[in-house]
């Protein structure tokens, strides 16, 4: 298998529009790397640059140390699963899978055995004689997958392959794709805009915005140590709640002052904000880190606005200072809209961000 390196890679569509800007990235051998970001962030462009479907404006792409920036797609030793599957409608499933193999000077028997093997792997062995219009969306997706697996590429590229499937099948396919990856160990670059897909599948997640990488890290890294406000707000469902607060010194204490609450920081937190005294900052707290407490210990109280039951959990929305804040709590006590809630924040789960740059403050 293989590793992949992007060096200073840029794609400029027009004078002012950059698809990807000066990107450096290295994908390790056997890694399952997910490019994640909102639409227009450049993740698909990056994938298409690796595939050779877009020409790089600057920079280099290396597979196993070999520069393939100017190599045509067919000679890159890559394969790809497209968002629309791009299964050829005028060919049978068999011919779709065999297409690439026929350029490889293999015997009929060899091609036959590879097609059978891969069709088997993605569970479409009984469908090989059919045409794509006789298949369901999920089956077509498996054909696209088999076609990509059959060539045993060095790098396996996937462009939002699950986004056209229904919700249930999508979750099934996540597991299957991971299982196939564990079996083939092919270095994989997977593009998605769905953060939960990224979280559940990736070895590492690359979060992109406006053509640049915002953060690279394991799913836990990007969730628990979001590098800035954008990542904290993008990862997690419901997303992180943000508050703008003032830092006030009261004797030796440091207090975060918000119109609706005043939060006295513990020592560890105090040291983190040493440089930020008497200024404003943004802090974030994840929905599961806001806890419902007794009246005695509450930091703030507010009535529940909307409650979404989620089986064993409930998502409670309330309004603080005209902003919707969401929290997740266990269903030990079911909350109803209008109930008065006494809330507190887990101190060790607070995330601080610079109010101007949005960058994370302190390393936790």
């Amino acid at each position: 298998m293989a590793d992949l390196k992007l060096e200073n890679l840029s794609k400029r569509f027009s004078r002012k529009v950059w698809g990807v800007k000066k990107m450096d990235l290295s994908v390790k051998d056997k890694e399952f790397l997910v490019l994640l970001g909102p639409s227009g962030c450049g993740k698909t462009t990056t994938l298409r640059l690796i595939a050779g479907l877009e020409e790089a404006t600057t920079g280099n792409i290396l597979i196993d140390g070999v520069d393939i920036t100017d190599t045509p797609p067919r000679k890159r030793d890559i394969s790809m699963v497209f968002q629309s599957y791009a299964v050829w409608p005028h060919m049978t499933v068999y011919d779709n899978i065999a297409f690439a193999l026929r350029f490889k000077h293999l015997s009929k028997a060899e091609i036959d055995s590879i097609v059978t093997e891969t069709a088997d792997m993605v569970k479409i062995d009984n469908l090989v004689k059919r045409y794509p219009d006789q298949l369901s969306g999920g089956q077509r997706q498996r054909v696209a997958l088999a076609r990509a697996l059959a060539v045993k590429p060095k790098i396996f590229l996937m462009d939002e392959p699950l986004s056209n499937l229904d919700a249930k099948l999508r979750v099934v396919m996540r597991t299957e794709l991971r299982a196939i990856h564990q079996q083939t160990k092919a270095t994989t670059v997977f593009v998605t805009h769905d953060q939960s897909e990224a979280m559940s599948m990736a070895d590492r997640i690359v979060i992109m915005k406006d053509g640049v990488i915002v953060q690279i890290g394991s799913p836990d890294d990007v969730y628990f140590k979001s590098t800035n406000v954008f990542v904290a707000g993008f990862i997690g469902m419901p997303p992180t709640n943000f508050f703008t607060v003032e830092i006030i010194h009261e004797g030796t204490d440091i207090v975060l002052k918000h119109p609706f609450f005043e939060l006295k920081l513990d020592n560890e937190r105090k040291s983190m904000l040493y440089d930020y005294s008497k200024r404003s900052l943004t802090f974030g707290i994840r929905p599961e880190d806001i806890t419902i407490t007794s009246e005695k210990n509450n930091l703030l109280k507010e009535r529940a606005l909307v409650v979404e039951p989620q089986g064993s959990l409930q998502i409670i929305a309330l309004k603080i200072d005209d902003k919707i804040v969401k929290l997740v709590s266990a269903r030990e006590h079911t909350v109803f809209p209008g109930d008065m809630l006494f809330l507190t924040f887990k101190q060790n789960k607070l995330h601080f961000f610079d109010i101007d740059t949005g960058e994370r403050i302190g390393d936790l």
């Binding site: 595939a51 479907l53 067919r74 497209f82 629309s84 791009a86 050829w88 409608p89 060539v151």
Partner: protein
Amino acid sequence: MDSLTHSRSIWKKAAPYLLIAPTIVWYGFFWARPVIQAFYGGFFDLNGHFTLDNYKFVFNDPYFLQAIFNTFFIAIVSVAVEFVLAFGLSLLINIRFKGAGVFLFIATIPMALPFVAIAAMWKAGLATYGWLNSFLYHVGLIAKNGKIVFMSGNKWPSIFVIIIIDAWGVIPSMMIILVAGMQNLNEELKEAGYIFGGTRLTVLRKITIPLLKSTITTALILRIISAIQIWAIITLMFGYLRLPTLVSQLVFYSDQRAPADPVYYQRALAYSVIVAIIISSIVILYLKVSGSFRKEENG
């Protein structure tokens, strides 16, 4: 089933037929009637007696074989030339280079011109002192006294002049059909071809062209039909009888001869029946060979 649901289901079944009934009546009146009349008329003389004389006349017409040959030669060569050029141009436009829109617009100008204008333009160009010779002279391809006589009236030069003019006028409409078909293709289908080992040529051959099959069939059928019916441009360029085709003979007899001698009208009807049969059988043959019928059986 009670009588109410029974009568409802009858209405339901009848609804599609009722809806197309006006169209059928319209067709029957304006389309089927003249066609039947033509078929019928070809078998009668002026006194209303049954006769095969009209067909005998057609088959003994000294121009008939020539007309068949010219018609088919022009149709085959011009459709082939037009298809290859139009396909190439469509591929070019489909790359969506800068200015492709302007190019497409300019390329479609011939479509807006009526045959008469096209003929006038080319006649002016092909005349011995026309703009083509003067252009060739100015770029140094011919000497001052070496003017080419395009309109000599000899058979082969005439045929090729006609093919060139026809292609010039027709390529845009074919190109538009092909471009529309190409733009409907999912780009990822081609990209998958490049990823999975295809060169430009193999992707064109194994993916683009097969996927464009129904578009190509449509474009070719429309073209073949109108190519077999070629006459106006020929008549405008060379007049009648110098380069006879099936339809130009038909028009010649019905327009030039019938006013003086009405029997030519019956003969023209016989001609039109023959042309209709030829065109229909070619279209059916083409659809059969191209596999268009098979597809419907599968569907």
